[in-house]
C-alpha cells in the first residue's frame, strides 16, 4: 500500500489578492464602540452603570468646584458672597481660604521673604539626585550628591555656614581614618576606624570647632528655627531626609542581612523586623514621647529632628529589604568573579556589587519614598504642622472656623500630583530595567 496522493491537486495562485476593507462591524468608531463598550449584555450593563456613576459624581462635584468663591477674607465673607451670587442654600466651595493661606500650606510659617531658600533647596535636591537616578551622567557629579544634603540643610535652616561644613568634614575625617587604618592594618581596622573616628569627631570636636570658626569668620544667612517649618515643605523635608539618610543605613542593614556572620545577620534581621512590624505612628509617638528618655540627661533637640531620626530608622528597614532584593537579583558569578580577581569584600561590594544592586533597587527606592511621603501626614498626631496639621490650625482661626472640604481637596490634589508623577517615573524606570536586562 503506497501513499495516496489522489486528492492533492496542485494549486498556484496567479495573481495576489489585494488587501480589502474589513466588514463594517470591524472598523472605525463603530468597532471601537462595539468592542470596548457594547460587546455583550454584561458589557452594556457595565457601561451604563459606569456612565451613571460618572454622572452622579461629576454633577455634584463640578458645580461645587467651578462655582467656588475665591475672593473673600473669611468664611462668613464667603457665605455672604455666595448668598448674594447664587441665592441661599447653594453649596459651593470657598476657595478663598486657599487663596488666603496657600503659602502657609506650602511653606508653613517660613518667613515670606525667604521662600526662595526652600525652593532652592528643592532644586539642589534634584541636582543631587540626578546622577543617582540617571546613570548616564558623569560619575564626578556624585560628589555633588554627597554635598547636597549639607547645602540643603544650610539653605533651609540657615545660620552660620560653618555648621554644615564642619559636619561634612566628618565624612572626610572618616575617609582619612579609613585610609590610615587601611595602610596600617588592612581593611578591617580601616573600617572600624572609619566608623569610630568620625563619631568621636562629631561628638567632641565638631561643636567647639563650629563655634570657633563662627566667631572668627561669621559668615551665614538668617537662621530659621524648625518650629517655623510646616506644610508641604515639612512633608518634603521629612520624606527626603528620611530617604536619603536611610539609604546608607539601609544598605548596611541589607548587607548585614546577607552576611553569614551569625551575630551581624541576626541583629540586622531583628532590627528590620522590629521596625517593620510596628506601625509608623507608634514610632512617631516614640519619637515624641520616649526618644528623650534614651538620650543622655539634659540633651534635648527639637521634635522635627527626632521625627527625622525615627523616620530614618523606619525607612532604612524598608530600604534594606529593597536593596536586599537588588543584591539577590545579582548572579552569584559576579561575587565569584570579584573574589577570583582578588578583590576583598569591601572593594567588591563597592566596585561591583552595590553599583549594580542599587541600580536594580532604584524603582523600589522611589516607591518606598512615595509611601514615606504619604506617611509624613501622620506627624499631625504629634503636633507637627504638616498640611493636615495646618488645616486644623487654619480652622482654629476665627476667620476660617468651619471650613472643611476645600483644604482637604487642595491637600489631596497636591499629594496626588506628587505621588502619581513619582509613581509613573518609577514604573518607567522599571520597564527600562527589564528591557535592558533582556
Amino acid at each position: 500500500m503506497s501513499d495516496t496522493h489522489a486528492q492533492t491537486q496542485p494549486f498556484v495562485r496567479g495573481e495576489m489578492l489585494p488587501e480589502s476593507e474589513p466588514p463594517l462591524a470591524e472598523k472605525g468608531a463603530v468597532k471601537w464602540l462595539r468592542e470596548n463598550l457594547f460587546s455583550g449584555w454584561l458589557n452594556i450593563l457595565l457601561t451604563v452603570v459606569s456612565l451613571y456613576v460618572i454622572w452622579v459624581v461629576l454633577s455634584t462635584v463640578v458645580p461645587w468646584t467651578v462655582l467656588g468663591i475665591w475672593d473673600a477674607d473669611s468664611l462668613t465673607g464667603c457665605r455672604e458672597i455666595r448668598d448674594a451670587r447664587y441665592g441661599e442654600g447653594m453649596e459651593v466651595a470657598c476657595w478663598a481660604v486657599i487663596a488666603d493661606r496657600w503659602q502657609q500650606l506650602l511653606f508653613g510659617f517660613y518667613p515670606r521673604d525667604l521662600y526662595a531658600r526652600p525652593v532652592l533647596a528643592l532644586l539642589v535636591f534634584f541636582a543631587g539626585i540626578a546622577p543617582v537616578l540617571f546613570t548616564g551622567l558623569p560619575r564626578k557629579l556624585l560628589w555633588g550628591s554627597l554635598a547636597a544634603p549639607f547645602v540643603m540643610y544650610w539653605l533651609l535652616w540657615g545660620g552660620s555656614i560653618w555648621g554644615p561644613i564642619v559636619v561634612a568634614l566628618g565624612l572626610a575625617v572618616g575617609a582619612l581614618a579609613f585610609q590610615v587604618g587601611n595602610r596600617a592594618q588592612g581593611a578591617l581596622l580601616g573600617g572600624i576606624l572609619a566608623i569610630v573616628v568620625p563619631i568621636l569627631y562629631w561628638l567632641f570636636l565638631a561643636g567647639p570647632l563650629i563655634r570657633a570658626l563662627a566667631s572668627v569668620l561669621p559668615i551665614g544667612i538668617e537662621f530659621v528655627p524648625s518650629d517655623d517649618f510646616g506644610g508641604f515643605m515639612l512633608s518634603f523635608i521629612i520624606g527626603i531626609a528620611g530617604i536619603t539618610l536611610s539609604l546608607p543605613l539601609g544598605i548596611l542593614l541589607a548587607l548585614g542581612r546577607q552576611s553569614d556572620l551569625f551575630i551581624i545577620n541576626k541583629v540586622s534581621v531583628a532590627f528590620i523586623e522590629i521596625i517593620r512590624g510596628v506601625p509608623l505612628i507608634v514610632w512617631l509617638f516614640t519619637a515624641s514621647l520616649l526618644l528623650n528618655y534614651f538620650l543622655p540627661p539634659g540633651t534635648n533637640f527639637d521634635l522635627m529632628l527626632r521625627v527625622i531620626i525615627m523616620v530614618t530608622f523606619f525607612a532604612s528597614a524598608y530600604i534594606a529589604e529593597v536593596v536586599r532584593g537588588g543584591l539577590a537579583a545579582l548572579p552569584k558569578g559576579q561575587y565569584e568573579a570579584g573574589d577570583a580577581l582578588g578583590l576583598d569584600y569591601a572593594k567588591s561590594m563597592r566596585l561591583i556589587i552595590l553599583p549594580q544592586a542599587l541600580k536594580i533597587a532604584i524603582p523600589g527606592i522611589v516607591n518606598t519614598f512615595i509611601g514615606l511621603f504619604k506617611d509624613t501626614t501622620l506627624v499631625v498626631f504629634i503636633g507637627l504642622l504638616d498640611p493636615i496639621g495646618l488645616s486644623n490650625s487654619i480652622r482654629a482661626t476665627t476667620d476660617w472656623n468651619g471650613i472643611y472640604w476645600e483644604l482637604f481637596v487642595f491637600i489631596g490634589i497636591l499629594f496626588f500630583i506628587c505621588c502619581y508623577s513619582m509613581g509613573r517615573y518609577s514604573l518607567a524606570l522599571e520597564r527600562k530595567l527589564t528591557r535592558e536586562n533582556r
Binding site: E35, N36, L37, S39, N43, L46, T47, S50, L51, V53, I54, Q185, G186, L188, L189, I192, D260, L261, F262, I263, I264, V267, E273, I274, R276, G277, V278, P279, L280, I281, V282, F285, T286, L289, L290, N292, Y293, F294, L295, P296, P297, I370, K374, D375, T377, L378, V380, F381, I388, Y404, W405, F408, I411, G412, F415, F416, C419, Y420, G423
Partner: protein, 479 residues
Amino acid sequence: MSAISHEPQAGGFRLSQLIYDTRYRSLTIQVVALILLVLGLSWLVSNTVQNLEALGKDFDFGFLTQPAGYDINQRLIEYDSQMSHGRAALVGILNTLLVALLGCAAATILGVFFGVLRLSKNWLVARLAAVYVEGFRNVPLLLWIIAIFAIMAEGMPQPRDFREGGGASMLVGDSVAVTNRGIYIPNVVFTRSLGGNEVVAPEPEEPDDAGTTGVASGTYGGSRIATGGAGVSTGQDDQDAADARNAQSAAGEDDAAEGEIVPSSSALDWLVVLGLLVLGIIAARMVTAWAKRKQEATGKRPRTLWINLALILVAPAIALFLLGAQFDYPVLGGFNFDGGVHLRNSLIALWFALSLYTGAFVAEIVRGGILAISKGQSEAAFALGLRPNRTMRLIILPQALRVIIPPLISQYLNLTKNSSLAIAVGYMDARSTLGGITINQTGRELEGMLLLGLFYLVLSLVISSLMNVYNNSVKLKER
C-alpha cells in the same frame, strides 16, 4: 619561585590570626560588633534609667490593674469605666483585630473586583477602575480616613430624620437604618436562650415609649454586650432589671410565668449555632471529597451544590428555631435607634477607608498576577476543550494565586498596621486605648508604648510566618 617555601603551620596561635585568618576573622568582627552593640544598648538603658530617676518615675506595669475611668463605645467584650486599664487595652486589641479582619476581607474583595475590572474589555470600566486605583494609591490614607468619616457624617441622614416627615426611611422592611452615626441592623436574640432568659411582666407603658427611660432601654443590654453594644451602659442595668423584677413580684400577685420572656442571647447560644455551622461545613467538604472520588471512579461529578447548601444551613437553622431565635429590630428611641446591632461610623469609616486604600494596592497585585499567566495557558486549555470558567478555575487561578498571595499578605500586614490610624476617627483600637488614653491618664509612656509595640510586632510576625509557610508550600518545581 623555586622550592616550596611556605612556613610550616606553627602550632601556636598568633594574634595576627585574629585579623588575617578567615576562621578567626569572622569571629573577631562579630565580637567587635557584639561589644559595640552591648555598649550601645547599655548606654541607652543607663540613659533611660537616669532620666526616669530624674523625673521621679519608675518602671512599673502596675497601672494595668488600676481602674481606667474612661468609657469605650465599641467593644467586643464586657467593659465599663470601672474596669482596669489592662481590660481596656484588651478591648482595644480586640477592636484592632476586628477592624483588621474586616478590612482584610473587604480589601480582598474590592481588590479582586477592581483588579478584574481593570482588565475588563470595557474601556470605560477599565478607566474607572484605573481612576479608583490611582486615586487611592496616591493620596495619603489619613486623608481618606478623615474624608470618608466626614462624608458619612454629612451624607447620611440623622436618626431624627427617621421620625415622621424627616425624609429618611429604613431599608429592607424597616429593619436596617443607615444613619450618620452608623448603621443599625437587626440582631438575633433567643427566647429560649441557653444562657437563661429573664422574665419581666408586660410593661404598663405602650411599647412605643420604650427606650426613653433607662429601665426599658436597659432590657436589651445583654444582647448589646454580646454583639458590640449599642451604647455605654453604666453597669447598673442588671441592677435595674432586678429592681424591676422585684418591684413586679412584690407589687403583683401575678405568677412570673405569665410575665413576658425577654429574649436575649448568650455566648453559649452562638457557640452552638457556630458549632453546627462548622460541622455543616465539614460535612459539606466530606461530600465534596465524595463527589471527587465519584468523579475519579466514574468520570461523572455529582452535583453537590444543593446538598452542600442544605448541609451547611439546615442544622444551624434548626438550632436557631429551637432556641427561639427572633430578630431584635432597631427601633427609633429617644436620640438614637435602640436594639439591633450598631455598626458605628468610626468603625465603618475606618473599615471603608482601610479597605478602599488597601484594595487599590490589592487590585494592582491581582491584575499583575493574572497578567503574569501567559495567554498561552488559557489557549492551551481552550484547545483541549475546557470551557472558560473551568479554565479560570483549574488553570488560571491556581497559577495566579501563587503570584498574588505573597504580596497580598504583605498588604494584609500593612492594613493591620495602618489600622492604628483609628485615632483619626476615634475608633478605640489598641493604640487609642493602651497607647492613647491610658498613657495620657497614667503618664506611663514607656510601659504603654512598649506593650503596644510588642502587640503589633507579635501580630506582624504571626502574619508573616503564615506567609512563609504558604510560600514554601506552593513553590513551583523547577529544574
